[in-house]
């Protein structure tokens, strides 16, 4: 009898180990930090449907590419971008706008990838000049220096370089801030009728109502939400611990819903209040289009800005197209497209002075005055405090 069972048993052992290793290896694949549930599939139609990037009246002059750079770029035959979700900061219009201005086709890899996956893609394709090697990346601020340390970036300074604040760029041009958003409350007003105005108001919301758009042990957006909550309730850019304490309070009062919120859970009322960057929250609002009604509130205190940075790959197969892409992004016209996607473009202040901001777009941006942009050291410190403190302070204890 025993012998007839021994075979399946051995298979079982093999299967278990294989399963475990497979799970370990593939585990991270699904951690893309997306609030905006985007649809790569709908990219083309929606890009075509929306107005050409700079059509809005009153604003900037249309971008004219530098002829020498354009000729060099065209000879390269394409541009490879990575991890640009179509609805994130209105990248769909930036992508189509670049192609219509230059005639250069763009291959956008892995639209929902994370910052780390962008750096990984450069590393993995160092020797590969094919379509899998990204030319340019758009990564979280902390990944700028990380990429420089790993030797992954090539320096370049765009025409508007001097408009970028010194604190938001690498002095040698290896990376440069592009846009930022402010942490905000995305509220389904068919469920929550009295809008919360500040972090402390969240403590009076009904049970099971407040959620994060990511996992605070791994998502920059979720970590920033915890951090901002702390800044609004006694903490500071240098002290993130109050954020953990605030979420512990929310959790003890059963207000916190630990699900990873998406626009679908906002719509169903499962997570009527979600903490997300303004641009993601506003893109969700526009996407849901009144069904249900969504309002985005920037809290009165604890206004935390989160910045992303651009960089060109040191191993870019199309280096001139990459430079041309940067010139497009940092042109007045390009910056206004980001503004259209509810992202605060980095040259905003200089453009206000020069009168090149599209006033109708600027009027739609929520008031983020007084938002604090943390330094790299502060981000590193807060990330460590929150990612390592979350499981023990707020997370379920198993005993």
């Amino acid at each position: 009898m025993t012998s007839s069972f021994s075979k399946p048993r051995l298979l079982t052992i093999g299967a278990t180990v294989a399963l475990l290793v497979a799970a370990c290896g593939g585990g991270g694949a699904s951690t893309a930090p997306t609030v905006a549930p985007t649809a790569a599939a709908t990219e083309a139609p929606s890009a075509a449907a929306s107005a050409p990037a700079s059509a809005a009246a009153g604003g900037p002059a249309a971008w004219v590419p530098d002829p020498t750079l354009l000729t060099a770029a065209k000879a390269e035959g394409g541009l490879t971008t990575i991890a640009l979700p179509p609805t994130w900061c209105d990248y769909q219009d930036l992508l189509s706008g670049f192609t219509s201005a230059t005639g250069i086709q763009i291959n956008n890899l892995n639209p929902d990838g994370s910052s780390q996956s962008e750096l990984d893609a450069i590393t993995a394709n160092k020797a590969n000049k094919g379509p899998a090697a990204p030319d340019v990346v758009d990564v979280g601020l902390a990944y700028g220096p990380k990429g420089v340390a790993a030797g992954l970036f090539a320096p370049y300074k765009v025409a508007g370089w001097n408009d970028i604040p010194d604190s938001a760029k690498d002095a040698n041009g290896y990376w440069y801030g592009d846009y930022y958003g402010v942490m905000s409350f995305e509220v389904n007003t068919s469920v929550i009728t009295t809008l919360p105005q500040d972090w402390s108001d969240l403590l009076n919301e009904p049970a099971n109502s407040v959620a994060l758009a990511g996992d605070p042990t791994g998502s920059n957006q979720a970590v920033s939400a915890v951090w901002a909550a702390g800044i609004g309730t006694g903490g500071s850019l240098d002290n993130a611990q109050p954020g953990l304490d605030f979420f512990k309070q929310l959790n003890d009062k059963k207000i916190f819903v630990p699900v990873i919120a998406k626009s679908a859970t906002v719509a169903s009322g499962e997570t009527p209040i979600v903490l997300a960057w303004t641009y993601n929250a506003l893109a969700d609002r526009d996407q849901l289009n009144g069904n249900p009604p969504v309002t985005v509130v920037v809290p009165k205190s604890g206004k935390l800005g989160g910045m992303y940075v651009q960089a060109i790959s040191a191993y870019a197969p199309h280096p001139n197209s990459a430079k041309l892409w940067m010139e497009w992004l940092y042109s007045d016209q390009g910056q206004n497209v980001w503004l259209k996607g509810y992202c605060n473009p980095i040259r905003y202040d200089a453009m206000v002075k020069a009168g090149t901001v599209d006033p109708t777009l600027a009027a739609k941006l929520p008031d983020s005055s007084g938002a604090a942009l943390p330094t790299l050291d502060q981000i590193t410190k807060a990330n460590t405090v929150i990612t390592t403190g979350w499981p023990t302070t707020v997370g379920v204890t198993v005993h």
Binding site: F5, T12, L19, G28, P216, G218, E270, G395
Partner: protein, 298 residues
């Protein structure tokens, strides 16, 4: 493990011969290749990576990190949830399989249960989490229905976004998986054995204690270990249901490898090696228990 045993068998086969041995090697070669490519090499890669810093220097820091409170909490959470769902899934899965197969259910019902088990045991990840959220989440249709008839589960303190909630969701695939993998063993229980023991005057309890259980025990243990590994290695379901709220090791590994909040890959590798070690200990304990069980049969 499997391949060495088979090679050994071939060597001591009654008619030894070189040709026969090389034929055996040829037969297991695809499996060996598969095991090296998808099991040995990745594990070796993890191990080497876990001993390095992000810039490639040799270090033990990653393993030292495993003793931090938050990583210990993660291992505890993973172990507890895997154990609970393996044991409950194993127990109720066995009962369901036994009732289905030995209970004399009509063929179509048995077929339906086995087919459902095949489907449900493969339903996991984001879709499963969302299915539960939209069924018994705070605004799920079952919750709304129950509330309408005056039974509010959330008012009574239940929430799907909790340890118990996650265990319920895991059981959705654990239980059917148990049905599938234990079914052949139950099929192997011959009716004659029961009749024989009854003829010899054994009671039902005696039959189970002295006949059925000893025969089934190795399969039962193996199945529960498989369920344990299945839950231990799961990530997406828990991630989509509760984010990092229930800090499973797999979720922490995911955060280190592909998060955008400054993950440390090498720490992720060390966390994974820790899981491999736990699985290794489990398998050693398993083979010891099986040997014990086999001795008991004699």
């Amino acid at each position: 493990m499997t391949q060495t045993a088979q090679i050994g068998d071939a060597r001591t086969a009654p008619q030894p011969g070189r040709r026969r041995f090389s034929g055996t090697v040829l037969g297991v070669a695809p499996f060996l290749l598969f095991a090296v490519l998808f099991l040995v090499l990745p594990t070796a890669y993890l191990f080497v990576g876990s001993l390095q810093t992000s810039t490639g220097q040799l270090t033990l820091d990653n393993f030292a990190h495993l003793t931090q409170p938050y990583t210990i909490a993660a291992y505890e959470a993973s172990l507890e949830i895997s154990l609970v769902t393996a044991i409950l899934g194993g127990l109720f899965g066995f009962l369901l399989a036994y009732a289905t197969i030995a209970g004399g259910l009509p063929k179509p019902i048995r077929g339906a249960i086995m087919t459902f088990s095949g489907v449900a045991s493969n339903f996991a990840g984001g879709p499963l989490a969302l299915a539960f959220i939209f069924t018994i989440g705070r605004a799920g249709f079952l919750t709304v229905f129950l509330r309408a008839i005056g039974l509010d589960p959330y008012g009574a303190g239940f929430t799907i976004y909790s340890k118990i909630g996650l265990e319920i969701v895991y059981l959705y695939f654990q239980l059917p998986l148990m049905v599938l993998i234990i079914a052949p063993a139950i099929d192997g229980l011959k009716k004659e054995w029961r009749e024989a023991s009854e003829n010899l005057g054994a009671s039902n309890v005696q039959y189970w204690r002295r006949v059925a259980l000893p025969i089934l025990l190795p399969s039962l243990l193996g199945s529960v270990i498989l369920l344990f590994g299945n839950a231990f290695g799961a990530q997406a379901t828990a991630f989509f249901l509760t984010g990092g709220f229930i800090p499973l090791v797999t979720i922490l590994i995911g955060s280190q490898l592909s998060g955008d909040a400054l993950g440390d890959k090498n720490l992720g590798y060390a966390l994974a090696i820790g899981m491999v070690a736990i699985m290794g200990v489990t398998l050693v304990a398993y083979s010891y228990l099986t040997r014990l069980a086999e001795r008991w049969q004699r």
